[in-house]
């Protein structure tokens, strides 16, 4: 599939109805999703015939893309019921049955699922810039308030648990050195490489955003996880 086709495919996928600030539900832009998927498929051939986990899948843009590019099974994992409902609707839009399942689970708990593994993990994690406790909602509903400073790191740790081979992820370019250190020292990545720097056109989804939209620089990372000792 060509990059342009992929991008227009991504444009048809419904975003969040009402993004939740405490979960940092920024939709992945069609352009950035397409670039990411295209790279996994064409530069590394890590979708075709493989199993995939889309961690923090939101409305399933990356899940659907991975399935379209030949993944034989995709598991979309998210905490948020509303997002998963839209994700399922997005999958059901397609006439053929896409090989996608969904699971409602907290990213901090999913790593305890020791048997849950896929060849490739893709994710567009929250950037971890909103701090916990800024909204009363999060105080009363501990399980709906998982996203706090450092959420991107929690996602990365979980992704390393869930992957057999590689992890593709987006992180703010400003965190590049930190991510590199985390991946290499704590997570013992075989490799950690920035494949591209992309501009993330963050729409003004929430009231606290003053500007209409804001471009931020993000890195597309590829990590190879250390060899597994499991069965």
């Amino acid at each position: 599939m060509r990059l342009k086709e992929l991008e227009s495919l991504m444009q048809d996928i419904a975003p969040f109805e009402e993004p939740k600030v405490e979960l940092e539900q920024y939709p992945t832009g069609p352009h950035i999703a397409a670039r990411m998927l295209y790279t996994v498929a064409n530069s590394f051939d890590e979708f075709d015939g493989q199993t995939v986990i889309d961690l923090g899948c939101g409305t399933a843009m990356l899940s659907i893309g991975a399935a379209m590019l030949g993944a034989q099974h995709v598991l979309g994992v998210d905490l948020d019921d509303d997002a998963l409902r839209i994700a399922q609707q997005n999958v059901d839009e397609y006439e053929e049955a896409l090989p996608i399942d969904f699971l409602r689970c907290d990213v901090r708990q999913v790593a305890l699922q020791g048997r849950l593994k896929a060849d490739t993990v893709v994710m567009n994690p929250p950037f971890g810039t909103r701090r916990k406790g800024t909204h009363t909602q999060s105080v009363n509903q501990p399980h709906n308030s998982t996203v706090c400073a450092g959420a991107d790191m929690e996602f990365l740790r979980a992704a390393f648990q869930l992957s057999r081979n590689s992890v593709y992820s987006l992180h703010k370019s400003s965190t590049r050195e930190f991510i590199q250190r985390l991946a290499e020292r704590e997570l013992r990545a075989t490799s950690a490489e920035v494949l591209a720097q992309l501009r993330y056109d963050l729409p003004a989804s929430y009231k606290f955003h003053k500007q209409k939209s804001k471009d931020i620089e993000v890195d597309l990372w590829r990590f190879e996880v250390p060899p597994q000792t499991d069965s």
Binding site: D101, L103, V110, L112
Partner: protein, 122 residues
Amino acid sequence: MRLLCHNMLQCHIKGVVNGYPLKIEAEKVETRETDYEPDFLRHIFPRIQWDALREAAAAMGVDDLPESVSEEMLEDESFLKQFHHALLEVHLEQGALVCPETGRKFVVSDGIPNLLLREDEC
């Protein structure tokens, strides 16, 4: 939820030792035809816990899987088709996944299992 997904899930409540495999309580099961890909079945076979798959399939009304399996059977098309059907075509739409140790039920609603733990469980 396909049984491929079920095969990888366990009860992850703190302190649970024998949380695998989760028993299936099926209220609504659907069958959806999927492309048959023998190469993928051979790729995934070594990771599948056969007893868990067989038991789960039986709970979903698919009871023709053989009791024991071997690598050689991956050349046998009639076996591969049974495996394909159980693993990828049968979906649990409504029901529950039950922890064999504690009896804790994880609800499956509209095909999506809810594995969120309560605070006192993690």
